[in-house]
Amino acid sequence: MQKQKLLGSRSLILVALLLAALALFPSMASRYYIYLVALMMVTGLLATSLNLVLGYGGMYQFNHAVFYGVGAYAAALLTVRGGVNPWWGYLLGPVVAAALSLLMGLICVRLSKLYFGMLQISLGSLVWAVVFRWYSFTGGDDGMHGVPVPRLIGSIDGAYYFVLIVTVVCLAVMYLIVNSPFGRVFQSIRDNPERAEAIGVNVRQHQLVGLVIAGFFGGVAGTLFVTVEGSVFPDMLFWTLSLEIIIMCLLGGWFTFLGPMLGGGMVVALRAVVGIYTDYWTMVLGIILMLLIFFLPEGVLGFFTARLGRGRAVREGD
């Protein structure tokens, strides 16, 4: 029996090269590009956290932005209104997001696909409305600005490295999770929930655990956003962002691990470029989505891994 490994040597080298490039990036780039790449990582992490349930669990989570926003708001509110040390805020933000995810999951997980998604949208909108209207506490539609950030990561370089480290650690943990027995069984539920139940899996419990994990990492992405921007606003929880995160997953490739990371990065970069020329960003996004569905249903990374895989098979066939 051939011993199976978690990561091939070629992928390890690629990952190492990419990390080295990212680590050196701030010494070569301007402030704006450092900010942009940090934001790409945050958004990529957000998309990857959604993909845990979307691509691996087959659950159409339509309110993922809520956990992003709640993570960010929790960290900001704890720091500003609670007077807590910002580091504690960063730690507790994701926990609050995970707790909310558990609560919503308990309500939604009994329902099948379409109803699951619809109830999620309504519950998510509820949270958004509270944040949007509660001026005295959340700052309402103005959001909160000038959220204190620890001095160590107060500069743009510091924030960048903090984001880089946290993102890498989170990706590593999520990679472990999707390749764990939990992740494998989650995939089997995605493929065929009825059969998964029949082989002795408690499907709902499994889905609930998946939702909590996704909510947690969505919350981490939210707190990272606070470090980069120093502010939070209600748009972070709005359902259009949830949709955008789904598009990121589809764009990058939702059946691959790093696809959503790529998709998130691409959307941030595109928005930055498109934003120079036009205000109609959502229209551009709509066109991208249409092209994607017609021409790249497996996403960019999915497309290339399929090509690569086929090439390898052909070579082995010779």
Binding site: Q4, V185, S188
Partner: protein, 247 residues
């Protein structure tokens, strides 16, 4: 080992199973036969928890399991191989079986141990046993129908069942595949001591494999006994074997 008494299930006004009775003893191979629509698949789904009965008892190893959810039934040692192929199509053949082994070992909630380190040997053993080892790396959605049916069985075996229920295990198989599947079923029963309950339209297969047969018609059990008893039973001859001439 398994005893089904007066089981009844209706879907709205339609009575799929009206009075099913069945006894399976440890170590046996038991077949359920009956014309299309007799309620065989419904009976199996009732036994394995996919459907909840309106009335009646399903006693497995001394405990009533009627109405338990499928994963609970499965954990008691009762596993179902489906009539319509029901595998995990985007996953490899190997992973299809591995998840079943992981589920049986109750390791499904482990978050940080790589799955590649778990359940490998047992999975290989099952794949070797059923003859799918050379296709272990293929994505299961790309398998031929015959191989998919074998994978069906392999997944069910991953649960290491005491009682394996198979809904038309050879449906749609070529004659060679059917012969191989028959050999496999006999080995599972003989070498591994798995009790087997199956239904099948192929009468040759039924009379070759089964030690006892239960006959259903219009949702009712009309006879149960050894092959000879069933063959000679008047009710059966009238209602099924002779009456329709399609057996």
């Amino acid at each position: 080992m398994l005893s089904v008494q007066h089981l009844r299930k209706s879907f709205g006004p339609f009575l799929a199973v009206s009075d099913a009775n069945l006894i399976v003893e440890q170590g046996e191979i038991v077949a359920v036969i009956g014309p299309n629509g007799a309620g065989k698949t419904t009976l199996f789904k009732l036994v394995t928890g996919q459907l909840k009965p309106n009335r009646g008892q399903v006693v497995f190893k001394g405990q009533d399991i009627a109405g338990l959810s499928p994963h609970r039934v499965c954990r008691r040692g009762l596993s179902l191989s489906y009539q319509v192929v029901s595998v995990f199509p985007r996953m490899s053949v190997f992973e299809n079986v591995r998840v079943a082994v992981l589920a049986r070992r109750r390791q499904v909630l482990r978050l940080f141990t790589p799955a590649v380190r778990l359940a490998g040997e047992e999975t290989w053993e099952i794949l070797n046993n059923v003859g799918l080892a050379d296709k272990a790396g293929l994505i299961s959605g790309t398998l031929s129908h015959g191989d998919s049916k074998v994978l069906e069985m392999a997944i069910a075996l991953g649960n290491r069942p005491e009682l394996l229920i198979m809904d038309e295990p050879t449906a749609g198989m070529s004659p060679e595949e059917t012969r191989a599947a028959m050999g496999l079923i006999q080995r599972l029963n003989g070498d591994m001591g798995i009790t087997i309950l199956f239904c099948e339209h192929d009468m040759e297969l039924v009379f070759n494999l089964a030690q006892r047969i239960m006959v259903m018609r219009q949702g009712k059990t009309i006879a149960q006994g050894t092959c000879d008893e069933v063959r000679c039973d008047e009710n059966v001859q009238q209602a099924y074997l002779g009456g329709h001439g399609d057996a």
